[in-house]
Symmetry: C2
Subunit: 278 residues, 2 copies
């Protein structure tokens, strides 16, 4: 009779970022399995420890932070201005994005006190700033924010309750060129992140209508939208615009080949992709 890993062993292999092929190994008996597990765990733990030592001795910053810096550097070189807006969002700002009780996203919102929530996205704050900056700067307005967003997720392999969003938006004389400019900006971001293996796909999304998604393998790294758009009028936006949002942890997963996004995000169990309880 052959045996497979126990649930606990599988869990541990996953924590240590074992190749998926290793999860399905079959053994002649439990003695053989235990011996294999011991060896494999030791090897994987050593690899995780090596990565943590490389962080300490060489890189000193998690890839998540490094990617943020690289994107900030590149976007400012391209003339985009960084902004920092509130993480606590009023219910009214959500409503203005039409994220009302009927909207699928509303179930994923973390509420704080009565009328505030943790922002599930950066778009409402950027919409709000766009109007003021359009008036004060004239066209074009190029801004971006990078920072924490929050969604109650089923915690699958590619979702996090806390994640880092980068959202850039350009407003200006883009009529008829929105898709082309979106593609340019997506390519700029991917270049800054050092990701070559991606494609751009047209899709349709709940909040933004027609989108151009940035995909690597099966993973959506980012999603771009453009206007004029049905959401624009309540925000006082009349000019054409393009915008893209990226999940930074997904960029990390893509660069590092992690099997689970928890490895890449804010955590007390992982640091820069390596497991800590080893």
């Amino acid at each position: 009779m052959s045996v497979t890993w126990t649930a606990t062993q599988k869990q541990r292999l996953s924590e240590l970022d074992a190749d998926e092929a290793l999860h399905d190994q079959v053994f002649a008996d439990t003695a053989e399995r235990e011996e294999h597990f011991k060896q494999l765990e030791r090897k994987l733990a050593a690899k995780n420890k090596e990565e943590l030592l490389a962080l300490k001795n060489d890189s000193l910053r998690p890839l998540l932070c490094q990617l943020e810096s690289r994107l900030v550097d590149r976007l400012t070189k391209e003339g985009f201005v960084q902004v920092v807006t509130p993480i606590l969002l009023s219910r009214g700002m959500l409503n203005k994005m039409t994220i009302t009780p009927e909207h699928p996203l509303v179930k994923q919102v973390f509420w704080v006190d009565k009328d505030k929530c943790l922002r599930p996205m950066l778009a409402p704050n950027l919409y709000h700033l766009l109007r003021d900056l359009r008036r004060l700067w004239g066209k074009p307005v190029r801004i971006f924010e990078v920072g924490p967003c929050f969604r109650k997720e089923s915690q699958g392999a590619y979702h996090l309750n806390e994640f880092t969003m980068l959202n850039l938006v350009e407003l200006g004389d883009l009529e008829g060129q929105q898709e082309e400019r979106l593609r340019e900006l997506a390519n700029i971001a991917m270049d800054a992140a050092g990701i070559k293996n991606y494609r751009l796909e047209k899709d349709e999304c709940h909040v933004y209508g027609n989108t151009i998604d940035v995909i690597s393998g099966d993973l959506e790294l980012g999603s771009g939208a453009y206007g004029p758009h049905k959401l624009d009028p309540p925000w006082g936006i009349v000019d054409p615009w393009v915008g893209i949002g990226f999940g930074l942890e997904r960029l990390v997963v893509t660069v590092k080949g992690h099997k689970n996004i928890r490895r890449a995000g804010r955590s007390l169990s992982y640091l820069d992709g390596a497991r800590l309880n080893i």
Copy 2:
């Protein structure tokens, strides 16, 4: 009969960052006041607009973001490793910091769902990581995090509900040298931030006991503590350590001379210290 500014006018002058001396002006009559107000508002609005144009054309990043980058650069050069930990904190982690219902800080905590809160400080997460990293790295362990923290504040001139905390900690063979090392690290951070006008003061604090505070004028920019400390045992920490936490918006206020910290923080009304509704 002489008149002073109306409440609305005072509010507007404050929004536009008028010198405090201007708030107490006295006029012969309302006609004179209105004329003065018109001129003053125009001048101040122009100054705010100039600052926003300088952001767009020159600096491209709010000082808050620039200071963060400078501190990250300097701390990694000093051998500190950046970490990124969860913003949502479990009630248990707060309790482990002895922030239980009797503690003054507990009133300032934003609760999310039933058993989570927005971290009011970085210390519990850093405590948690210290033990793992001490085991994996040996001594010294030098880490820091910079990121959002949340406290319900009375919203005075120097408090924000959402603020950016930088917390660094060094654990190692520091017995007897903790105060000296704290002073060194405080000086390093102030040097990186470009702040010369500050002093270090011993004080006592609710959570951390004896502290060394970093003060500029009347404003506490940061606070340092050290161990062995009564909070250490539940976190499994036995080695000496030193740590300092800075409020980044307070560093911005100090560098720029703002009269209100709201100007420096995450906002939809201000961007990089300048008022947007002008």
